[in-house]
Symmetry: C2
Subunit: 409 residues, 2 copies
């Protein structure tokens, strides 16, 4: 029997999905599980989008252009204009989800062994895509004490080697919810310009900002237009995760023409998803106002609840719908599994994502979890209650160390 | 400005799509272009599938399971049972088109530098996927004189090195339309077993066979169950190219569990496409009878017409909807471009795919073109007339060499 590849062996299992068998077992035992482990929003897809799909009158479901239909790319120009981002259809490759945009960016810009610097914790699947494309991730540390702000310039400088070809950020951030300030982006610009690096920016949560904060796009950083590659997706924006539509955008025509060759090899992005995504741009602003108001309430429930729990700390995220919390626990993988296989509070428990999967430095994230606030406020309150009760009885509960770290904040 | 990757530079532009700018120019000049260059069928998607999409009543378009929805995978079990292929949902990873199935197979089974043997000419995008995953394609020659039959065992043996990990076939074949016999598959089995190689089989044209011939699947080769990886797609079967749904199937659980990790990184295959594909399995047999009868007529028009043209030769394909023809020309890239930019016959011309893009050995395919018979019989006859007239006046027309080669048949 031939053996699988070393690359395949090195691929990480999804930290978000690897506890699924334990949650399935818990459910079989009759335990109600609150899923705060996944980024699947419960928010309804806009009605105009669903109506559009129901009214499809095509006779043949054909391939589209490998770069995406021209009508969708033109519509995207309109969408970005609303955010003062000025791009043309020729600067876009429509992709199969943000995932494929990341893969195309890595494959187009980096060779095997080339390095990419990413502040950690970072979106876990960046690990999978870097292993797939042979790229080496060089993590630099963003810390919970600073609310996961951008690491200082010195940290980037120290991580740069002759193989460094790019920096990747996610803004607002998954898993931390951190929203980078204009000043932080300007700092990134300086580093990128000085070392002539690519700047890959995953801005799929652009709309999700709170407390009056504004999202600043890397597309508007002056002077590094040829370095910037934007990675985007409709998944969270319009609750269209299953549509699998994203986009890679760059003003660097070499990047776009190279990405197009990878796009041609896979023929085209999904046709139904493009139709849905094109219509989604017509979604009224009121939809987002309602969605944001809802997430704002949810965020406050989660962050407020956790910070009231003894020995716990959760910085207040400025965007997205995730938070990373530090808990008084020995090991987040063990704790998250224990929540499912050994704990319940009146027949209920909560499923969280261990933060370890969002770090690439071994040993980091052991006392942190990622919480996706994708349930309604009542369910979230019940879930937070489960978490609070669980922490009181968890056998691996820690005391002094965590308390002292938390008191720094 | 940072430079793109060497991998990106090495990626081939699609041989099927690279002439598109010339066809667009021709159309601007008012020339009618018959597209025989692409694998996009004109056949209508089954009505039950379109109805299913129009009746979608989901409220949230969610991610599915990374391996595909369980309902679709169970339905696929039914589908394969009709072809006496016995598989379970746990042996399947639903992919974003057959393209992603190929990529997952390569990434799961081969590391950078590992070799895969493929009889050429072969589906051009295998080149793109091998470059993407760092895999080295070792072509062995199947020749037009033999109608593109499987190369002899000796050719495989000579190509095998210590880095060889697999053999890839496409059956029925794109671009040649060749349908492998049971004896040829048994020969492949012997080679695979002797050298303990993976056997990757792209069987997306399974239904498209002619002249009473039967398709034999690699899934039914006894004794190499752990070596076989099936790559499949709904694109051509149900005229659902834009749905972007394929599947990787193997009885080798290591391959499936490894492919699942790549699948988890990209979250899920398209939801709309899975709904359409699940319904497609209910398509009545009469649909395929009509489709096959239509393609059979088309094949006969193309093959008959070409073999009547002086100095031309086209073996009769047993399956799929492609044929490779040898023409009395100096260079198929030049000829196919000339058809678009310098020729017309009463305001009409024909777009073909140069066969060079389907070979990885330089210099091969220079006097061959791939013809996709995806237009109705009347249009095909008009296209064949254009081709015939074009060959009479093409400045790069060759005489003796091609004539002598053809006379061998």
């Amino acid at each position: 029997m031939p053996s699988i590849s070393l690359k395949g062996k090195a691929m990480p299992a999804s930290p978000i999905r690897k506890l699924v068998p334990f949650s399935e077992e818990a459910k079989k035992r009759g335990v109600k599980v609150y899923h705060l482990n996944i980024g699947q929003p419960d928010i309804e897809t806009p009605e105009n989008v669903l109506r559009k799909i129901r009214n499809i009158d095509l006779k043949v479901i054909e391939y589209s252009h490998s770069a995406g239909t021209i009508t969708y790319r033109k519509k995207l120009v309109e969408y970005y204009r609303k955010y003062n981002i000025d791009v043309s259809p020729e600067e876009m490759i429509v992709t199969t989800g943000g995932s494929e945009a990341i893969l195309f960016a890595m494959n187009s810009c980096l060779d095997a062994g080339d390095e990419i610097i990413i502040p950690e914790p970072f979106y876990a699947n960046y690990n999978g895509f870097s292993i797939t494309s042979g790229v080496v991730v060089k993590p630099i540390n963003s810390s919970i004490e600073d609310g996961f702000a951008l690491p200082p310039m010195k940290a980037f400088e120290e991580a740069i080697t002759s193989r460094t070809k790019g920096i990747m950020i996610c803004n607002p951030n998954n898993p931390t919810g951190y929203l980078y300030s204009k000043e932080e982006l300007e700092l990134l610009k300086e580093i990128v310009r000085k070392h002539d690096l690519f700047l890959f920016a995953d801005e799929v949560y652009r709309e999700f900002t709170y407390d009056g904060k504004i999202h600043h796009s890397v597309m508007n950083l002056k002077g590094i237009e040829q370095n910037v590659v934007l990675l985007d997706s409709v998944s969270k924006r319009y609750s269209l995760c299953g549509a699998r539509i994203g986009v890679l955008i760059s003003r660097n025509r070499d990047v776009v023409s190279t990405a197009l060759k990878f796009a041609q090899a896979r023929l085209s992005p999904p046709t139904f998803g493009q139709i849905a995504s094109e219509e989604a741009i017509n979604t009224p602003d009121s939809y987002f106002r309602d969605v944001l108001a809802e997430y704002y309430k949810r965020r406050n429930v989660v962050v407020g609840s956790i910070n009231r729990m003894e020995g716990c700390f959760c910085p207040t995220p400025g965007g997205a719908f995730y938070a990373v919390a530090r808990l008084p626990i020995d090991n987040s993988d063990k704790f998250c599994q224990w929540l499912l296989d050994s704990f319940n509070c009146n027949g209920q428990t909560v499923m969280l994502a261990p933060a370890t999967g969002f770090y690439s430095t071994p040993g980091r994230g052991l006392d942190e979890v990622r919480i996706s606030y994708v349930l309604n406020v009542n369910d979230l309150k019940a879930a937070m209650n489960c978490l609070s009760e669980a922490l009181k009885v968890y056998p691996g509960r820690q005391k002094s160390a965590v308390g002292s770290r938390q008191s720094n904040n």
